[in-house]
Amino acid sequence: MMSPTKTVHPPKVLVTKIGLDGHDRGSRVVAAFLRDAGMDVLYTPPWQEIGQVVRLAEEEDVDVIGISSLATDHLLVPKLLKALKKAGLGEVPVVIGGIVPDEDERKLKKAGVKEIFHPGASREEIVSKVARLAGEARAAKDKELLA
């Protein structure tokens, strides 16, 4: 339960899957974690197209985008980053959870992915890192509004 003295904007996180894989245990468990931690979670079924994710991120003004990937859909994340940038949402942090080989991790981080949570990542780690990224994103947005 949120206490009324806390911020009026809980972090808003989009938890989704792009590409062709349907395994959604990970995304569902993580969505539940984040929700329990007081975040506002937008959850979608698998197979979202990149355009849909960008649209959702824009319309819902999300603070963080979490992509769950079990079966190589992470290879599409660079395309997502480009599409976000094109839509003027390049500042929205994107994180990935799931199976990501070490070599791909390096490439994805270089492309701009903020965090990668591997199998075995604890709830605590996921919640705290997502909260931090959301806080930073929110602060940057507020600053932009004031400027």
Binding site: G19, L20, D21, G22, T72, P101, D102, H118, P119, S122
Partner: protein, 569 residues
């Protein structure tokens, strides 16, 4: 000593001070109380409280015939065949699928050369979803399975493989295009369809709607219709084919406890049996073709008990609910796969030990076919090296360790028998809940099994996070990142290969008799719209006319729509 040897006198036997059972137990309890303190008994994954010791008080040997009997006889607890693994060990069926058809063929031949005894084919995620390679982003093509779209692709996949002699397991549900492609290849090679043996693995569409959400090609009613048509086709043309594999693996991988996964799977089997009977088929003609596919987790004894209990329930269900009289209908034939979600990315070689324990649970549970995960499956599609270790693990268990000398070797253990009974009660409770909801089809529509899997996944994760369930290398015995071994992962197929594959598909599509393709696809749509025509027969005719997987799925989607996950809010 010397003196005794000379006189040859044996040492005088000192009689063992035999105590009274109750007195001894009382003494033991007191010692255990002080030794273990007030710690409560742990519970297994299914929620059964596990005591520190089991004795004849926990399982009554007088119930032997009623509860166990003999292998191959009712109640089937000890195994479905009289000889079990002493007679014939399990089929080594390693799931494989990667890259373009040539890559798949090379890996398949390597696996068969190293002791694999059956073919399995996992298609690319684009195929799962019902698309051809030219309909999806090329980055992910062939990264998780083989790109198989046409009869030409299938011919390359199965090049040099003696169809008609070796059993093939195709991970491919409605509309079963891969089977249709295999039949088209057999036709080209002049191999009669009666000789084609194997399984339509993953044909259990309900399990896909509950968990895992793969293979969402067709909406729920369409998936149901095509499954039954494909069973009807197999009854007529494919006497050696098992058209139905009912899958508990997805549900357990998605979080269901072992008892829940078994209960939900049996509920699906009940649904399918009822659907078959509603078509007027004789239960003894369809039930012998039902096969099951389960996950085997790290909870060793619980898994053994799960399989024994499931086997006993099925033998009773088939007789009582469906009136099956043929013993073949009572047999609970199952394939086991070691649990991917129990593997860790940290210190991946540890996974070899995990897989070994899981495989042993499946073997003692009496499985008919086994897939052992490769230790790097949590990193990527298995590398060749890791795939070889997985097969070697099976060979070691089968031929070095003497696990197969005795049938149901854990049977009769007070613990195993008590646990089998308790797991049976838990499983039956799940079946009763689904019965109450109107059967599995209705339950899936309202999201009950989805909710069960989701809740249990969360509960298990909480146990791991709280340290109640140890996972070596994750919440205990961690190794600093810099000391971690280097993790190799399989490289996705090169751009060049994918481009060549796309070109081949384009060439194939351009070079066909387009009129024939059109005619076959139109006939397919008409059959799907009709009430009585067999849709799967038209799928086979379409692949023989060189229609592709994506085209067939697209035409059926026009009638049945896409499957959508029925997500719990």
């Amino acid at each position: 000593m010397g003196k005794r040897a000379k006189t040859g006198g044996a040492p005088k036997a000192v009689p063992l001070p035999l105590s009274d059972f109750d007195e001894a137990r009382g003494r033991w309890r007191a010692e255990v109380q002080s030794g273990l303190g007030g710690r409560p008994n742990p519970k297994n994954r299914s929620g059964v409280e596990v005591k520190p010791l089991y004795t004849s008080q926990d399982w009554d040997g007088d119930r032997y015939m009623e509860a166990l009997g003999f292998p191959g006889q009712l109640p089937m607890t000890r195994g479905i065949y009289s000889t079990m693994h002493r007679g014939r060990t399990w089929t080594q069926r390693q799931l494989i699928g990667l890259g373009v058809p040539e890559d798949y063929n090379v890996r398949l031949k390597a696996i068969l050369a190293h002791g694999g005894t059956a073919v399995s084919l996992i298609p690319c995620n684009s195929v799962y979803r019902g698309y051809d390679a030219d309909e999806v982003p090329p980055e992910i093509l062939g990264t998780c399975g083989a790109t198989v779209n046409s009869v030409e692709d299938m011919a390359v996949c199965l090049d040099g493989i003696p169809l008609g002699e070796i059993s093939t397991s195709l991970n491919d549900p409605s509309p079963f295009t891969l089977l249709a492609l295999e039949l088209a290849v057999a036709k080209r090679r002049g191999i009669p369809w009666e000789r084609i043996s194997g399984t339509s693995n993953q044909s259990d569409y309900l399990s896909h709607f509950v968990a895992n959400h793969m293979f969402f090609r067709l909406g729920l009613p369409g998936a149901r219709r095509v499954l039954l048509d494909h069973i009807a086709f197999a009854r007529r043309h494919l006497p050696q084919w098992n058209p139905l594999s009912i899958v508990g693996q997805h549900m357990q991988q998605a979080g269901a406890t072992p008892a829940e996964a078994m209960g939900l799977t049996l509920s699906s089997a009940i649904q399918y049996a009822n659907d078959c009977l509603a078509r007027g088929w004789d239960p003894d003609q369809v039930l012998p073709r039902f096969t099951f596919f389960f996950d085997i987790s790290m909870s060793f004894f619980e898994e053994v008990a799960k399989f024994r209990a499931g086997r006993r329930i099925w033998a009773q269900l088939t007789r009582e609910r469906f009136g099956a009289k043929d013993p073949r209908s009572w047999r609970f034939k199952f394939h086991g796969q070691t649990s991917g979600v129990d593997l860790t990315r940290e210190q991946p070689l540890n996974n070899i030990s995990r897989v070994t324990v899981q495989a042993m649970a499946g073997i003692f549970g009496g499985l008919q076919s086994l897939h052992t995960d490769a230790y790097d499956e949590v990193l990527s599609v298995p590398t060749e090296k890791a795939a070889r270790v997985a097969i070697a693990t099976q060979n070691i268990l089968k031929e070095e360790a003497h696990l197969t000398d005795v049938i149901d070797p854990l049977g009769g253990s007070y613990y195993i028998e008590a646990l089998t009974d308790e797991m049976e009660a838990k499983i039956r409770a799940v079946i009763a809940r689904i019965d109450e909801a109107g059967g599995m089809y209705a339950a899936v529509e309202t999201g009950i099994p989805q909710q069960i899997c989701g809740d249990s996944a969360l509960a298990f994760q909480e146990k791991v996070d709280a340290g109640e369930q140890t996972v070596v290398g994750i919440n205990k015995y961690r190794v600093p990142a810099e000391e971690e071994m280097q993790r190799e992962s399989l490289k996705p197929p090169s751009r060049k290969k994918i481009e060549a594959q796309l070109k081949r598909l384009a060439r194939f599509k351009a070079g066909r008799n387009q009129k024939e393709v059109r005619r076959a696809l139109d006939a397919l749509v008409r059959a799907a719209e009709s009430k009585g025509e067999n849709v799967f027969e038209k799928v086979v005719e379409a692949t023989c006319a060189e229609a592709t997987h994506g085209e067939i799925c697209a035409h059926l989607r026009k009638v049945y729509g896409f499957g959508q996950p029925l997500i719990v809010p």
